[in-house]
Symmetry: C2
Subunit: 308 residues, 2 copies
DNA sequence: CAGATGCTATACAATAATGTATGGCAAAAA
DNA sequence: TTTTTGCCATACATTATTGTATAGCATCTG
């Protein structure tokens, strides 16, 4: 019956930053060090937050502070705020004079490991002030929430506020190691694959859904080796563990990998470079964007990627 | 060649809040009023931000401040920060003693207008400290980013970190106004619909995709009246404009609405109440969550919603 | 054209936030 | 046990942030 004033508090946003640091560091002193503040200041921030929200965030103990349930519930939001603050700073620096600062780029693991490095190295050499953060993941990072600034994607962009450029198609096909073929024979029809060790995904991603639409047998139930990491799948193929999908161009670099049923089973992954529309006027982001587009265009037009 | 220090700036997050206010209010003075600060303070915040980021955010003019491209690019991030800060405060207040504070709920327009009000009124009466913010939209609001705290959805939740409860099925079917039927006749087969005025969506939503899967003719090309607002569709049906989909229970409230082909075309929308897992320990959110579940269960088990 | 309004920029005073120094306490190490 | 270390809490000094008051400059209005 005693209602606390749960109305609009209008707290300083800095309190949230301090709160997050305490949560992550585990003590007022450690948080103070990480924020370049002092321990009394951090303590005051926390008690200010606590009294404003009308709850206790930590249970004091000599060995440190234990977060309460409430504090744990707030952690996600505080982390989100920090992420956005970081994005905001990156954006801002991108607009200042000169091409310098950090750009966060997301791509699939394969593209990030096998394709992007030379492109980014070239960009970095041309613009020494530029730094790159690579987020390699098969789940689509959120450009609108600014988890990343630029994304290399295999799916056509849907949202209008994004600046997207198509850079070409990357052909992928079934491959296996010579060793594996020697032991199991080369399949000559899709039906043959039933008796083979297939390497595939564990959780379905949008791009794999598309693959399954064209080739129904390429579904989770038929895989003997399931792994969500494209890199690990490639490693399994290289190790002769079975038959899996990989980029034609990457397979050709390794003389021991042979294509399997390439006439019957081939996908072309249309590749896009996508950026938030609002970053268009920033030299830093546009330079990176154009560099990625150019580099990936060259890559997709490589003879290795032109195998019809 | 003159590179600004684009490294980690470690700015106070409050500067972003001030910046956003200036952006939205259009002048330092107006922003100061809206933030309960003074104009010199706001001005200092902006120039602090500008010098830290090494760019100019506004072009000064007597009639106000014009945002530069850079400022516009930063707006989205700043707004996102404000949204999260608000969510954080709501979460925090939910943990304080007593059931009070604000809960943001998203639902479709129809559910929000026709179904939720009595439920929320009951909850509010039982807990006078509780306030509700209704976000009515057919696009799925993001629970993870805390745009809303609790969502009423017609699609099964996919993410694991969500606490979801199924509250039953809501039957929907084709309906038309008596007037319309008198003028155009009552169709007796799906083929008959071709010569009728169909009221449907403009942009496809996930739930409508499901409808189309079961009833292929229910696609955008066949609609004479297209509108994304369920409410407007219902209004069109009520006005005798044509035949459209609406909840069976809502149609029965209006004696002039008659079901059309209800044996051939019926959908059951499975309804869920979904909440962020982390809010489970907050009495405020759990109270609301349980109240919504109970109220919607009652609603779906109403005789009107049980027409097989 | 004079007067009002609304805005920004600057100088100075008041206030609020931060840092410094210290004490107390518990757990780990000697 | 004694010592050391690391932590939080408090009192006091310092700094930095904010508010007040004012001037200057445009635009709009009668």
């Amino acid at each position: 019956m005693y209602g606390k004033k749960c109305m609009l508090e209008n707290l300083r946003w800095d309190l949230y930053r301090t709160f997050l640091a305490v949560l992550e560091e585990g003590s007022l002193s450690a948080a103070a060090r990480s924020l370049a503040l002092t321990q009394p200041t951090v303590g005051r921030h926390i008690s200010e937050l606590e009294s404003a929200l009308g709850l206790s965030l930590f249970t004091r103990s000599q060995t440190g502070l234990l977060p309460t349930d409430a504090a744990r519930a707030l952690q996600d939001d505080a982390q989100a705020m920090r992420g956005i603050a970081a994005a905001l700073e990156r954006t801002g620096c991108g607009f200042s004079a000169g091409i310098c600062g950090t750009v966060r780029i997301s791509a699939s693991e394969i593209v990030g490991v096998e394709v992007l490095p030379p492109i980014l190295a070239g960009l970095q050499a041309a613009h020494p002030g530029l730094n790159f953060e690579l987020v390699l993941s098969n789940k689509v990072q959120d450009l609108l929430r600014r988890e990343v600034d630029i994304a290399v994607r295999m799916t056509a962009p849907k949202q209008e506020v994004l600046l997207a450029t198509r850079v070409g198609d990357i052909p992928v096909a079934l491959h296996a190691h010579q060793n594996y073929i020697e032991r199991h024979g080369l399949p000559t029809s899709l039906a043959d694959l039933e008796s083979h060790v297939l390497i595939g995904y564990d959780q379905e991603t949008p791009y794999l859904r598309a693959a399954r639409a064209a080739y129904p047998f390429w579904s989770r139930a038929n895989f003997a080796l399931r792994c969500d990491s494209d890199l690990a799948q490639l490693a399994l193929i290289r190790a002769g563990a079975g038959i899996g999908i990989c980029q034609v161009a990457l397979a050709q670099k390794n003389p021991h990998l042979v294509p399997v049923l390439s006439e019957l089973f081939t996908l072309k992954l249309t590749t896009w470079v996508v950026m938030n529309e609002g970053l268009r006027n920033s030299t830093r982001f546009m330079t990176t964007f154009k560099g990625l587009v150019q580099g990936l265009r060259q890559y997709t037009q490589t003879p290795m990627n032109q195998v019809k």
